[in-house]
Symmetry: C2
DNA sequence: TTGTAGGCGTTATCAG
DNA sequence: CTGATAACGCCTACAA
């Protein structure tokens, strides 16, 4: 089953390829009669233009690349969903690559996408990313590029972010408002901007409330896993029996904390209140239900593609593109794990 | 920043495009000297072959399409992960599309991928799929094609599946072994093969154990959601106060059931035991921990790509391809929600 | 060892 | 209104 080509249609109809092409693209300068004949035959033969040839001619593939640190992740799944749906609306397909939170792999994936000549690239940095050279390269090559979630502030590109510092401040303030006096923070790895910002938000809020900051109350995740949540929960109660609140970098870690406390019979929230970040589905079905910070994920995907499209259009028209940043809102969701009753 | 082409290299070196091409592809009939010169210059200019042109010439794009009913789903995320990683090993990129469990959209996505001329397509059918015409079309066009998870038995293609009937039998037998006498089943929608098979497994196991099958104990999900789990849990205890076990089509639904029972103070497992299906991450952190059937998901993705690659190779060599089916194993994971103590 | 020529399938320009 | 011609960038017989 070879696919039909313009040439075949032209041969059958005894006209030129040019005319066939024009007829199918509804050019004004084709007689209605030939146009009709062409369209009917094309329909009959199930003609669709060979996209490889179209790509070569038009120098665009209507395909974009999306690099995600971890596909199996409630937050990123939603981002992917948002990107795919929005992209499809505008006729774009999405190639997904995973960096596995590894800088090495991330570099490789970027190179792959550049070689594939995708029309644009969107990515959330891996936790290891601190050397930005491979990303600067993308921008230097004028490839439309959008960063989202975990970004590098130093790179001049469009970005979709939340205000992590502000969100963290609200989360910690919430714990304080509910009566927490000594709050530990399980933070993310060193590099990612969002784990830095959440940490800063935590610190600032303590200061604002006259609570002394104590670096011993900071526990740093390497991988940001459920298991680390369990482990740090254990360490926290052992090291600091008087800690009465925990702010975790993300729900997965907070769920690990809850799991440990449940197992040990440590009362949440009365003994220790817990708040996570991201509002995974899971958090609402935990016992106790996990308080968290709702972070738009689907919307982030949509916004990221919107910005990419802006750049795509702008460059196509040969205009100078000025990157834009969209900041999405967050809000604290108070559930059982932070509602002390004593 | 225009990308370098063979032509440019040829011009600079004052040789023909052909020679440059050959030198870069390490043909034997190029003098070591020119070869060296070409390779060095190519390196310097950062030459990478224009993939659009390569696609057109070779008629393949090293890109495959993956159609998923629902991207935001622990099981499918893992499948995606498996496919992407395995595909990348062999130099393939993966375009992901979501059918949203809609037949209409699924048809559209298939057409899109065919138009893009991806090298192959992998898909899990939407719940609405019963009309197979669009899929037959794929097979008829000789496009390498693999079905996984939710498949159509009538389509001649490679498949990756689990033995849903057997898995369901083991799950229900487990409930019976733990002392359940009257077991309700919250099943999936009518069409999908796996919801049919799990239902049959349920029914057979009852019969095998001399428990009469009662169609009133069957509750059918439309969307397979958490909310349906809650709703059916409510109906079950109201309609049949003596039901002492529930087998749910998937963990998400089972979690809804647990949520309802927790809220109403209905004892799980002592009053009613519950078992789900799929072994989502969530199920192990629920209270009580949810018993379930572990279903390989990452492995399913890997296997699906492996079969696709087989077909790709086979067709490339012009051989006749015979579809193959891989059946992956499952096993019951007994956790708190089914371990009755009375 | 090197180069010429043709084609993959489409689109754009320019004459007729 | 129609068509010849030339790209797009690469690959590969076949000549030289």
């Amino acid at each position: 089953m070879k696919a039909t080509t313009l040439k075949e249609i032209a041969n059958i109809l005894g006209i030129s390829i040019t005319t066939v092409s024009k007829a199918l693209k509804d050019y004004p300068d084709v007689s209605p009669k030939t146009k009709k004949a062409v369209i009917e035959l094309a329909e009959e033969l199930n003609f669709t233009p060979n996209s490889f040839a179209v790509n070569l001619r038009t120098k665009e593939s209507k395909t974009i690349g999306l690099i995600i640190p971890d596909v199996v992740h409630h937050f990123f799944s939603n981002v992917i969903h948002g990107v795919i749906e929005e992209a499809n609306k505008y006729g774009y397909l999405v190639i997904i690559l995973q960096s596995n939170e590894s800088l090495e792999l991330e570099k490789k994936q970027v190179a792959l996408l550049i070689n594939k000549r995708v029309d644009g690239i969107m990515m959330s940095l891996s936790n290891e990313s601190n050397n930005d050279f491979h990303i600067k390269e993308v921008v230097r090559k004028q490839i439309p590029f959008v960063q989202f979630d975990k970004i590098s502030k130093l790179i001049q590109s469009s970005k979709v972010i939340i205000n992590d510092q502000k969100a963290a401040m609200e989360a910690v303030q919430h714990l304080i408002d509910k009566g927490c006096k000594k709050i530990a923070h399980i933070r993310g790895p060193e590099n990612p901007q969002n784990s830095i910002d959440r940490f800063l938000g935590y610190k600032k809020t303590l200061e604002k409330n006259g609570i002394p900051y104590d670096s011993k109350l900071i526990y740093t995740c390497k991988k940001v896993t459920f298991e680390e949540g369990i482990e740090f929960a254990k360490q926290i109660v052992e090291d600091h029996p008087d800690v009465d609140g925990i702010f975790a970098i993300t729900d997965l870690v907070a769920v690990g904390v809850l799991a440990y406390f449940n197992e040990k019979g440590i009362q949440v929230p009365n003994k220790i209140a817990v708040i996570g970040f991201s509002n995974w589905f899971m958090s609402q079905v935990m016992t106790p239900k996990l308080s968290t910070v709702d972070q738009p994920s689907y919307e982030m995907g949509v916004a990221a593609f919107t910005l990419l499209l802006e750049e795509l259009h702008c460059r196509k028209e040969g205009k100078i593109f000025t990157p834009r940043t969209i900041e999405l809102g967050t809000n604290v969701i108070a559930r059982e794990s932070s509602l002390k009753t004593n």
